[in-house]
Each structure stands twice: as C-alpha cells, then as structure tokens.
C-alpha cells in the first residue's frame, strides 16, 4: 500500500495504472499537520490496508488496452476549433476548467491535409515511432532521476504518463502550435527530449536552438529573442507545451503539479543561440555537447528556479566598461579605470544569496566579448571561474533547503572530497553552483543593450536534453 498526499490522487491513479496495479490501496498524508498528528490519522487505515481481504476487483488481472483513433473529429473548421478547445473541470486542487487538447488558446486545426503538408518537413515516415537518435541521451527526466542510459533506437516515453508517439503525432502537435514544415525537424528533436514538465515546486520548460538552422528558419537570436513576435520562436516554443499536454498527458492538477506554475510555460519559450556572437574560440551549444560545428541541435531544459537579470541600469554597464564610472565601478574598485572589467564580479555576491544551485547565463554578445578580452578563452573557463567563486563553508550550505534532498538526507557522499557528508567539518568548503563547473551553462544571444539573465537551474543543473535536429530532417 502507498502513503501519498491527497492532492496527488489523480497522479497516483495514473501511475498505478501505468505500472499495472490500477487497484493499489493508498492512504493520505497531510501537507499541513505536524508529523505525529498525521501518523495518528493514517496509521490505522494504513495497517488495515495491509490486512483487509482483497475484493474481487482487487484480485482481477487482465490487460488495459486504451482505445486509439487516428481521426479524432470530423466537421467544419469552426466545429473542429470548438472541439479542440473543449475543457474539463479538474476538481481539487484546481476547481477550474483545464483544456484537454490545447494550452487554453485556439489552435490551428490539425486537418489531415495540414498534417500531410507539415510532414513534408522531414524525410521520416509518418508512422515511425519517436526513438532516441543516439546512445546515452535519454529523456531529460530519465537522466536526472538516475534512470538506465538509453540506447539509439529505444522508444522515447513522454512524461509524465510514459506515452509514446509517432512522427505523425508530433506533426499534428506542430500544426496545432502554428509551426511551418521547416520547423518540424526542430520539433521532432524536442520530442526526443520527452517534453517533461515536473516538478511540484517551480518548473520552467524552455528550449534553445543552436546551429545553422537558426538562420534557415528565421529564428530570432537577437533583441527581444525571449519576447513575442518571431513566428519560429513562438510556434516551436508552443509546440513543446502542446506535446507535453498531448503526448505526455501533462494535465494541470492531474499529472502536472507545479504548485504555482511558471510564466515560461504560458505559451512556451523557445529562443536561439547567436553563433555569430560568440567570441573567438567559444563553442556553441552544439560543439559543447559533442556535435559538429555545422550541426543544428536543440537543448530542452527544465529549470527549477527563478530568473534574475537586468542588474545593470540603462547606461550603467557602459559607464563601468567605457570609463570606469558609476556604481559598478565603485563596487569593484575600478573607478576611473576603463574596461574591459570582469562584470561577473558584480553578480557573484548575490548569485547564491537565497538559493544554491547551478545557473544558465544568457548574455549579450558584447558582454561575452568583454569576458574574452579579459582572458576567458572558452565558456568552460567562465563556468569554472563561476563555480570556484561559489564555494561556501559547509555550515552555510546546511542552511539552504535543497541539500537535505541532494545529499540524500546527508547520508550520501560529498563529491569534491569523496567523503560522507557527516564526516566533514563545518568549515569545509563546498560548491553552491553544482557538483562541477559544467553543471552551469552559458548561452550568447540577445541585443545590444547590456543584459545578462541568470536562470536558476536547480542544484544539479536541472533537467536537460540536447538532441540533433539534423537527424530529424
């Protein structure tokens, strides 16, 4: 029998069915009541669940074969739009209607004709099942949660329901999102990530495209690349969310339990790396992850924290670098000395003030160039510098929330020393920015006003999957 929180009932039922034990018994724990009082309530039902004789239904075995139909609806476009926008009221913990097939907005109706047109964007057959295109990639969730390494050809299971999909299914969702056929290889590569949506806390899903396809399909990797307006960025970002809903079964309040949710996921977020904006010698995301320089890839991420940035007032960064004036120069004690200076020094004190964890830094090309000019000849060198700056005494590390989880209740091994956490003195220095420098990530893109965004990515880098787009052309 199982103990779980009451608001997780629907998720538990779905998981139990997927595991072949749809009749599993469970009792509720409380999110609010102190543990001893909670135990008073649940202990008797828990023991009773172990001893109460099975009902006839609980003794049943069989095979669950959900019905499947390729054509979901026949009618006019107006009727179809209404059909696809239907909602279902989800009881606790929402008590609100949630769209069944969409993100809540109208979609492009996926007629057979439109889907056939979309499929011209790939050489793959419509009925081909989505599989991993290389060894060891796994879905973003599999790898984070310690699942078995996947092999090329293994079927991708979409989270959270572990459903599978065909190329045609992905194309249907791409049509609904407003994609064009030339976007389809990107969407297929995103599908290879499994399109996860966990966790219960705070989960941002976003994707970043790198490589020649960025220009081919007209993506925006410059000014306002995270803002609305670019058709490729917008449609591909939306396709992630529609695939999460339709291919993964991620239904808010049922199997998508992020408590407040995230604006990242409202409409979807897709942007691109500005390869031309990289300083000399800095690798793009493609080369960083073992692909060729001329190969297009997409990085799909789930980051479990917030987004910070725009620490510099308009002109503040320029005053700092051009002539050594302003607040940044005063803080870094370079008043009157022209740059380039290491602007990361300005960010460091606040980066881990309230929360440890890795960061994805999205910086404009000029700021990357400044880092290059002061000696950082690669992204790796920048990440290593940031990581080393993150070291804090263990006593301070213990006062964060996440380490209780990431250290397995302090029962695990501290990775820089190889020793048990409990053996280490309070003044032992441990990194707050992940287990290793490469848990952090740097992306160059955006416009000419000097801005760096830092996306908190959780203690171990969050969930991440980088897949070849070219494999899906």
């Amino acid at each position: 029998m199982v103990i779980d929180f009451e608001d997780q009932d629907e998720a538990l039922k779905q998981e139990a069915l997927a595991r072949g034990v749809p009749n599993v018994r469970w009792v509720h724990a409380s999110r609010h009541v102190p543990g001893p009082e909670d135990v008073d309530t649940l202990i008797e039902p828990m023991l009773e669940a172990l001893t109460r004789p099975l009902t006839e239904k609980e003794k049943e075995s069989g095979r669950y074969e959900p019905p499947w139909q390729r054509v979901l609806f026949e009618g006019t476009l107006d009727e179809a739009q209404t059909f696809y926008q239907q909602t279902k009221v989800i009881p606790r913990p929402l008590n609100a209607p949630i769209a069944i097939y969409t993100d809540g907005l109208p979609i492009i109706v996926p007629t057979e004709e439109r889907v056939a047109e979309m499929l011209k964007g790939t050489s793959r057959k419509p009925g081909e099942v989505i599989t991993y295109q290389s060894d060891g990639r796994g879905t973003m969730m599999d790898r984070h949660l310690g699942g078995e390494p996947s092999k090329k050809g293994d079927v991708v299971q979409f989270q959270p329901q572990n459903w599978t999909a065909t190329v045609e299914k992905v194309a249907i969702n791409a049509v609904m999102a407003g994609c064009k056929p030339e976007h389809l290889p990107v969407v297929l590569a995103i599908a290879e990530s499994g399109c996860g949506t966990s966790t219960t806390v705070f989960s941002n899903q976003w994707v970043c495209v790198s490589g020649p396809i960025v220009k081919e399909i007209g993506m925006n990797c410059g000014t306002s690349m995270l803002n609305p307006g670019n058709p490729a960025n917008a449609a591909i970002g939306r396709a992630y969310q529609l695939m999460a809903i339709n291919l993964g079964g991620a239904i808010s309040g049922v199997s998508r339990m992020s408590s407040i949710g995230s604006p990242f996921n409202m409409g979807g977020v897709c942007f691109a790396e500005n390869i031309d904006g990289l300083p000399p010698g800095w690798k793009g995301l493609n080369e960083e992850h073992g692909f060729k320089k001329d190969e297009s890839v997409v990085m799909a991420r789930i980051t479990e924290g917030g987004i910070e940035g725009a620490q510099f007032s308009p002109g503040g960064y320029r005053a700092f670098q051009k002539s050594g004036h302003g607040g940044i120069a005063r803080r870094l004690d370079v008043k009157g000395i022209p740059g380039p200076h290491n602007w990361l020094e300005y960010l460091v004190p606040g980066l881990w003030a309230n929360r440890e964890g890795t960061r994805t830094f999205i910086m404009v090309p000029e700021m990357a160039q400044h880092l290059y000019e002061i000696g950082f000849k690669s992204k790796e060198e920048v990440c290593e510098w940031i990581w080393k700056k993150s070291f804090i005494p263990l006593k301070e590390h213990k006062n964060y929330s996440w380490p209780d989880l990431t250290t397995d209740g302090w029962m695990g091994i501290e990775k820089t020393s190889g020793k048990h956490w409990k053996e280490l003195p309070d003044d032992y220095m441990v990194p707050a920015a992940g287990d290793k420098p490469s848990d952090n990530c740097i992306i160059v893109g955006g416009g000419e006003e000097e801005v760096c965004l830092e996306i908190s990515a959780g203690p171990a880098g969050g969930f991440s999957s980088v897949n070849s787009i070219d494999a899906w052309r």
Binding site: V21, R25, L50, T51, G62, R63, G146, I172, T200, L247
Partner: protein
C-alpha cells in the same frame, strides 16, 4: 458547398499509451503478528520518522524493516528480501 461548410478529418494529437498487463494486488496478510513488514520510504521525514517510531513501539510484535532515500525513487528490495517480506508500505509523500 461554401468553404466554411467543408468537412475535414481532424487528427488525434494524443500520445499512445501502450497496452498494460494489469495484476491483482498481493494477497493480504490475516494479521500483523510475527510478520515482516517493510517500510519503503522516499517521502518526507516529518511524516516517516514519527511513523516508524510509532510502528516500532505500538506494534513491537512485527518485524519492521525499512529502506529510505531522500530521492523520489524508492530503494528496491532484493530478491531475497522479497521472499521474506510479508507486506510493503510505500511512503511517497512529496
């Protein structure tokens, strides 16, 4: 026929759930006395620590075993442990 009246076949965007073999629940035990009950804990210690204490003090005639992790994947029982365990409580409160 006007364009707005044209009927289209519209395709299903929903993923494919593979057929699942379903199983009966494990037979229940007639009483707890003398049995080995395993606590598989991957839930929150605010609940599981007092639960473990209560079970061991109030039901001392039961052989309570436990494996715990702070992660979300339960620590699996070995084949040998499966043979000698009469019941399992999985705490997954998160």
């Amino acid at each position: 026929m006007a364009e707005k009246d044209k009927v289209y076949k519209c395709l299903n965007p929903v993923g494919i759930q593979m057929p699942v073999n379903t199983f009966p629940l494990a037979p229940r035990i007639d009483s707890l006395d003398g049995k080995t009950i395993h606590l598989s804990i991957c839930g929150e210690p605010d609940i599981t620590i007092p639960l473990e204490k209560r079970l061991k003090s109030d039901y001392s005639n039961v052989n309570w075993t436990q494996k715990k992790t702070y992660g979300i994947n339960p620590v699996r029982l070995s084949d040998e442990e499966m043979k000698t365990t009469d019941g399992v409580v999985l705490g997954v409160a998160w």
